[in-house]
């Protein structure tokens, strides 16, 4: 059992008690819920900004926004989706699931866990308040290249810089917590190679966060001193180089890309075996492939800068290193498909999202391969082709992954089942909308439509109309998703069985539904099952 130091007196007004509970909690499930709610809120805010962008791009010419405001929307949309929606959603899932999956009573450092969460809302208040400042919000794109962000950035850039610092502190502390939890808190018998893949992918994600986020802190610090204290890091007249900014940024930025996808890989690897009613094919190769992807992510940053000016040898190096990533990624996709092979597959909503993830993420992976080719990239760089590519890996990757996870584990979290029919409608409308929105961008990009520009040639008008209609539909599916969640939580069918899904494996399914606030007071016994006994020997 656990010793508790209960510091809240019981006789408070219910509202105050409610607020204090969420402000002061150290419970991994409550903090996980907070993370997921914040991520969902920011997902709507970032999504509303995307709606502004797509509305403006519905037709050529200026309709609704001025160019500067359009640039602010593009910038904030990117920043909020990356740092506010995808990352907190994954940390929320880690909070909920990692202790359950490894049989731990809570996260290793519960107070630190509360700290990492509550820094975030303040960081986003700082970032969003920049919209109401003189000179407007940051308008230089989410990658904030120098000198756009140094010499030419609006005054609010400094609040943005400090906001990024806060997000960085939050991410690093959160990652340290996940890392220590996985390394130190596993139940006896839960060896590293018996861990579920979601835990494995998060272990590696935590490593990437600890390695990459401090570099971003360094980059924004150099920006700050260049802006106000006369340093010349990104200023050629002082011996520095604006391209240096891109190197430092993308040294952070490329691992960041994998931070936003590896937990999604983990989720797919949990869900597909359940609904195929088979063991995951190639468990060990999945782990090694994830490690390989993570290590490679540190030596491929140059592929974001092929047109920025680099020696030919460096371009070739980054091209080959990038193409190498296709190998472990291919191993993963192969393993998912092999898991499906001859399975007794059923298509519940989580499975649909997981399969959509595998298929459409692979499309994004292939366009990534095209972008990795230096001579081809000279043509694609900074066009809508790039926008199509990373939205294919992020939307059906990170977002579908998160939604699959929410559908899959919601009955365990809340003890209530979502509406299966509405879930399927959600999946199919979202899938159609994603492809309507992002697929035409491949064509407009290949034809030469530049990204981040408010106006465009009439030649791209048809593609953009389709994209904008798709985006509107995609926006509506989020409201449907919200409705499904609220409906499930308030009036969903009660789940009484611990084993919610017939084929699901893992310690979380041994707990009652809903999972009690405190679980695994005493560590569970880990029974080595047959399949793992075989792999343990290997």
């Amino acid at each position: 059992m656990i010793a508790h130091a209960d510091t809240i007196p019981k006789q408070r007004h219910p509202l105050i008690a409610f607020i204090l509970r969420w402000l002061l909690t150290t419970n991994h499930k409550e903090i996980g819920t907070l993370y997921l709610c914040l991520a969902f809120l920011l997902f709507f805010i970032g999504g509303a900004m995307a709606m502004v962008v797509r509305l403006e791009l519905f037709q050529p010419g200026l309709q609704f926004t001025q160019p500067d405001f359009y640039n602010q929307m593009v910038t904030l949309h990117g920043l909020i989706m990356v740092f506010g929606a995808v990352m907190p959603a994954f940390v929320g899932l880690a909070n909920w699931l990692v202790p359950l999956m490894i049989g731990a009573p809570d996260m290793a450092l519960p107070r630190l866990n509360n700290f990492s969460f509550w820094i975030l809302p303040f960081a986003f208040i700082l970032l969003l308040s920049s919209m109401f400042m003189e000179g407007g919000a940051p308008n230089f794109g989410w990658t904030f290249y120098a000198p756009l962000s140094t010499t030419y950035g609006p005054p609010s850039t400094d609040y943005f810089i400090l906001g990024v610092h806060l997000m960085g502190v939050s991410s690093v502390l959160g990652a340290i917590n996940v890392m220590v939890t996985i390394l130190n808190m596993r139940a006896p018998g839960m060896t590293l190679f018996r861990m579920p893949l979601f835990v494995w992918t998060w272990l590696i994600t935590a490593f990437l966060l600890i390695m990459a986020m401090p570099v971003l802190a360094g980059a924004v610090t150099m920006m700050l001193t260049d802006r106000h204290f006369g340093t010349s890091f990104f200023e050629a007249a002082g011996g520095g180089d604006p391209v240096l900014f891109q190197h430092v940024f993308w040294f952070f930025g490329h691992p960041e890309v994998y931070i936003m996808i590896l937990p999604g890989f983990g989720i797919a690897s949990q869900i597909i075996p359940t609904f195929a009613r088979k063991k995951l094919f190639g468990y060990h190769s999945m782990v090694y492939a994830t490690v390989a992807i993570a290590l490679l992510s540190f030596i491929v940053w140059g592929h974001h800068m092929f047109t920025s000016g680099m020696p030919l040898a460096a371009e070739l190096f980054f091209m080959y290193a990038t193409m190498l990533i296709a190998v472990p990624t291919g191993v993963k996709v192969f393993n998912w498909v092999a898991t499906l092979w001859r399975g007794s597959i059923t298509f519940e909503t989580p499975m649909l999202f997981a399969l959509g993830f595998v298929i459409m993420f692979t499309i994004g992976g292939f366009s990534g391969l095209m972008l990795a080719l230096v001579p081809a990239d000279f043509q694609y760089h900074d066009t809508f082709f790039v926008v199509a590519h990373f939205h294919y890996v992020l939307y059906p990757g990170a977002i579908f992954g998160t939604m699959a996870a929410v559908y899959y584990w919601l009955p365990k979290w809340s003890g209530r089942m979502y509406d299966e029919r509405l879930g399927k409608i959600h999946f199919w409308t979202a899938t159609i909308a994603v492809n309507l929105t992002f697929f035409p961008m491949h064509f407009s990009g290949l034809a030469g439509m530049p990204r981040r520009v408010v106006d465009y040639s009439i030649a791209f008008a048809d593609f953009n109309i389709v994209s904008s209609i798709g985006a509107g539909l995609l926006g509506l599916t989020q409201i449907l998703f919200l409705y499904i969640i609220v409906k499930a939580l308030t009036s969903g069918e009660k789940v009484t069985d611990a084993q919610v899904w017939e084929g699901a494996e893992g310690l979380e399914w041994t707990l009652p539904s809903p999972a009690p606030l405190h679980s695994f007071h005493t560590p569970p016994e880990i029974e080595p099952d047959e399949a793992h006994a075989a792999t343990d020997k290997a």
Partner: protein
């Protein structure tokens, strides 16, 4: 349910939310202060500086309260060996993240020395850049004259910086002696070695201040003197900030030794501080080698 607690999980804590609000106040105050005190934005008023220091004060208060709570729990024997390991791993990974923070600035230094400065002087296929932008610019390191024409002198390695190297390496040794004394329960030796370490830390910081004064007043080496000054001050400055932090941590440890804390078996805070101190020392060795010496 009568078993011994396996892992102590505090039910609620007020310190994290205090810290989050404090960090927000600090960040908002810092940006406002910078706007009000530098000329790029030149905002009116002087309240930024007060907001900033309020944030710092509340962060200090939070750390005091948070660590105080943890120390009380530890003294009350609520921490299991498993929790001790959590703290240890947490500190180790925190130091890894700190290493990566310095790596960003070392990256900038190497980029400037190996790539941007030679390229501006026409190396590789950059002859036209050189010829049309700054034909008089010469590739030297330290960068005595920037392409824009700002001049500076270099900070010599074998004066104050070398003395500081000796001080910091010595302090790493003395903190280890203190640790050995702690493990043998020799409290007087522990106090003496730890006090010497704190004094060495202070001496380092004092010499660093003198060195900065010399740089600004005699060498013309400032934040504004091109990429050499930029990397010099950001690297040594952030290192100095870490030495300051480490010295404060060591002083707190000294205070706790006087209060009778720590046993030969249970002294995580002391060990974490000494790890941090060694980390700061190793960073300095890299600084001395690549910023001052070569």
């Amino acid at each position: 349910m009568g078993e011994t607690p396996r892992y102590y999980v505090p039910h609620t804590s007020v310190w994290p939310i205090v810290g989050s609000v404090a960090l927000f106040v600090l960040a908002y105050g810092l940006a406002t202060m910078i706007h009000q005190s530098t000329d790029k934005v030149a905002a009116e008023g002087t309240h930024g500086v007060w907001i900033f220091w309020t944030g710092i004060a509340v962060v200090a208060f939070m750390l005091f309260g948070w660590f105080g709570t943890v120390i009380r729990e530890s003294v009350a024997g609520m921490n299991s060996g498993l929790m001790d390991r959590s703290y240890r791993m947490g500190m180790q990974w925190f130091i890894v993240s700190e290493i990566m923070f310095f790596a960003a600035f070392f990256g900038a230094l190497f980029y400037a020395r190996v790539i941007s400065v030679p390229w501006l002087a026409g190396a590789g296929n950059n002859l036209e850049t050189h010829t049309f932008l700054w034909p008089d610019f010469a590739d030297t390191w330290p960068l005595f004259m920037t392409p824009g024409g700002t001049e500076t002198e270099a900070m010599a390695a074998w004066g104050l910086p070398f003395i500081n190297t000796v001080i910091l390496v010595t302090s790493s040794v003395t903190v280890t002696f203190a640790h050995w004394a702690l493990k043998k329960a020799q409290r007087i030796a522990l106090g003496i070695w730890l006090a010497i370490t704190v004094l060495l830390g202070c001496a380092f910081l004092l010499l660093q201040v003198i060195e900065y004064a010399e740089a600004y007043e005699e060498l013309g080496l400032t934040l504004g003197s091109g990429i050499y000054g930029s990397t010099f001050f950001l690297l040594t400055g952030f290192h100095g900030a870490h030495v300051t932090m480490g010295t404060i941590m060591l002083a707190v440890m000294l205070f706790r030794v006087f209060s009778g804390h720590f046993t030969p078996k249970n002294h995580f805070a002391f060990e974490a501080t000494s790890w941090y101190w060694h980390f700061v020392d190793v960073v300095w060795l890299f600084l001395f080698t690549f910023v001052y010496w070569f």
